[in-house]
């Protein structure tokens, strides 16, 4: 049930009739009467803010430095739609309905966050409303590519070069671990031990035997204990819990 309602908006964003046919016709009233958001555009403002929020979640806190690369329609009309302010707001932890979004670029500067905006043409196939965010803090660096699909819905498509598919509608656990047999078992076992239920999962890698990225969409946020449990697994290099952003 849950899965159906959350995949539906993605189907709406896909223009192919074929994908539509695979998905059951389920839409919540609250997808239609909502979200409550700062204008002017559910895709260019609310969705952009959520991509910023997700990237902030990946870093774990407000970045010191952020490179915001705008692709496609985000580059063409983003400034007029406040896309720059919305992403900056997301990086500061503002939600899509937070009126502070209007002044978020200035707020970032005041907080000493160096945000640089650039228009770009990302290689490969990307949705017209896409941004690549490269955030840095201390020695940490994370790169996230996300697309805004319309009606405020987003899809994170790449994290640090790994292809992913994250809607942000669920709390997520992102793990980078050695690519070897038994890793999924170890992680899901650790989650089960803490009674965290998995809604969806996906594992991918750039090359065999290197590192793999695990994405677990969860029914409830991973507890501190569950996160600690996962981090203690010997082959796990990083683990990050991110709350839902929509």
């Amino acid at each position: 049930m849950d899965r159906q309602t959350t995949t539906r908006p993605f189907a709406r964003a896909c223009t192919t009739a074929r994908l539509r046919d695979y998905l059951p016709p389920m839409v919540s009233l609250l997808d239609i009467i909502g979200p409550v958001m700062v204008g002017p555009s559910s895709s260019h403002t609310a969705g952009a803010c959520r991509i910023g929020l997700f990237a902030r979640g990946m870093l774990g806190s407000t970045p010191e430095k952020a490179l915001v690369e705008l692709h496609g329609s985000f580059a063409r009309t983003g400034v007029g739609h406040g896309t720059d302010r919305a992403i900056a707001g997301g990086l500061l932890g503002y939600q899509p309905d937070d009126e502070r979004l209007r002044g978020a670029v200035d707020d970032a500067a005041k907080q000493g966050v160096v945000v640089t905006f650039e228009n770009t043409k990302l290689r490969g196939e990307h949705h017209p409303n896409t941004t690549r965010l490269t955030l840095e803090k201390g020695g940490k660096k994370v790169t996230v590519i996300g697309s805004s699909l319309g009606a405020g819905r987003i899809m994170i498509t790449e994290i640090d070069g790994y292809p992913v598919e994250i809607s942000g509608s669920f709390p997520v656990l992102v793990i980078v671990a050695q690519d070897k047999p038994g890793m999924i078992n170890a992680v899901t076992g650790a989650l089960a031990a803490e009674e965290v239920n998995i809604s969806t999962m996906r594992v991918s890698r750039r090359q065999k035997g290197g590192d793999a990225i695990h994405i677990y969409e969860l029914d409830a946020p991973a507890s501190a204990a569950a996160l600690e449990h996962v981090r203690e697994l010997p082959a796990v290099k990083h683990a990050r819990a991110i709350d839902r952003v929509s």
């Binding site: 839409v27 009233l29 609250l30 204008g39 002017p40």
Partner: protein, 295 residues
């Protein structure tokens, strides 16, 4: 929400002797994600945000990010034409108000999208004033509207980039028509004829915003969308019955959207956006905006 057909929803409502909005609320709860209280709570919040946006927009001191729109809701709130002081003018003022708040990066409720967010609150709060309706009634109106929007999402589209403006302010007007009949106490069948009678009037409407911004003509299309919904409601309540079933009208909206040239789907490549003045205004505003930051 389990419905992909308004006809099905009508049959259910008729069998149970309930209104369209009540049927929508029951279906949402039966889908199992939220309790009735949670759904009503979320819709109450939506209502509160809509009410505030109307109040803010009608003051007339807002300008959009680009400076192209703002201040027109205030003019309608003090209208001088032959319809001044009527529900009609009230709906126009409210719809403009919400869209002006949206264009100025204020808080609104996407219904179904931000670009079409003025129509439904414009109409509902117009009726709330003229007919003294309480929030409980208005929430049922929102639910009826949500049901219509959900069926449009499944059978057609709610995105200007996919289906033109008929999928945004057109769908919003159809949603508002259902909401209007609901809050006025009309039955589900009448509500669905209001939807069909409204949507037949917005079929084919293109999405042609200047510079791709949600400003011109979007702000004004919300007002005219409200007018279209009033027409549909008035005809349906008078007993007019549209001969094409409502689901088929929605399918038609989807079919027209799919065959619409890409210039008319939010790309600013055609329609008003491509007029000499449209291009000139958009260019001037975008250059001005990008000046200090981008290259």
């Amino acid at each position: 929400m389990a419905y992909d057909s308004l006809q099905e929803a009508l049959e259910r409502a008729t069998a149970d002797g309930i209104s369209l909005g009540e049927a929508a609320l029951r279906a949402e709860v039966e889908a199992g994600l939220r309790t009735r209280e949670q759904v009503e709570h979320s819709l109450q919040r939506a209502l509160d945000v809509m009410r505030q946006a109307i109040a803010d927009g009608r003051k007339g001191d807002l300008r959009s990010v680009s400076g192209l729109v703002g201040g027109d809701a205030h003019k309608l709130a003090n209208a001088k034409g032959p319809l001044r002081g009527t529900l009609f003018t009230e709906v126009l003022a409210n719809a403009l108000a919400v869209q002006e708040v949206n264009a100025a990066m204020g808080v609104i409720v996407a219904a179904p999208t931000a670009g079409g967010a003025g129509v439904l609150p414009g109409l509902l709060f117009g009726l709330a004033k003229s007919n003294t309706l309480d929030d409980k009634t208005l929430i049922r109106g929102l639910a009826a509207a949500g049901l219509v929007g959900a069926v449009c999402a499944v059978r057609a589209s709610l995105s200007g980039a996919e289906g033109g403006c008929q999928a945004e302010t057109g769908a919003a007007a159809a949603m508002a028509a259902a909401a209007g009949v609901e809050v006025l106490g009309g039955d589900a069948e009448t509500a669905l004829h209001a939807v069909a009678l409204t949507m037949q009037g917005t079929l084919g409407l293109v999405c042609d915003p200047l510079g791709g911004l949600v400003e011109v003509p979007c702000v004004y299309r919300n007002a005219t969308g409200g007018a279209m919904a009033l027409a549909g409601i008035e005809m349906a309540l008078a007993g007019v019955r549209f001969p094409i079933p409502v689901d088929e009208v929605i399918d038609t909206m989807g079919e027209i959207g799919r065959s619409m040239d890409v210039r008319y789907r939010e790309t600013a490549g055609g329609g008003l956006a491509a007029t000499p003045t449209g291009r000139k205004l958009a260019k001037a505003r975008l250059v001005e905006l990008k000046g200090p930051k981008a290259k």
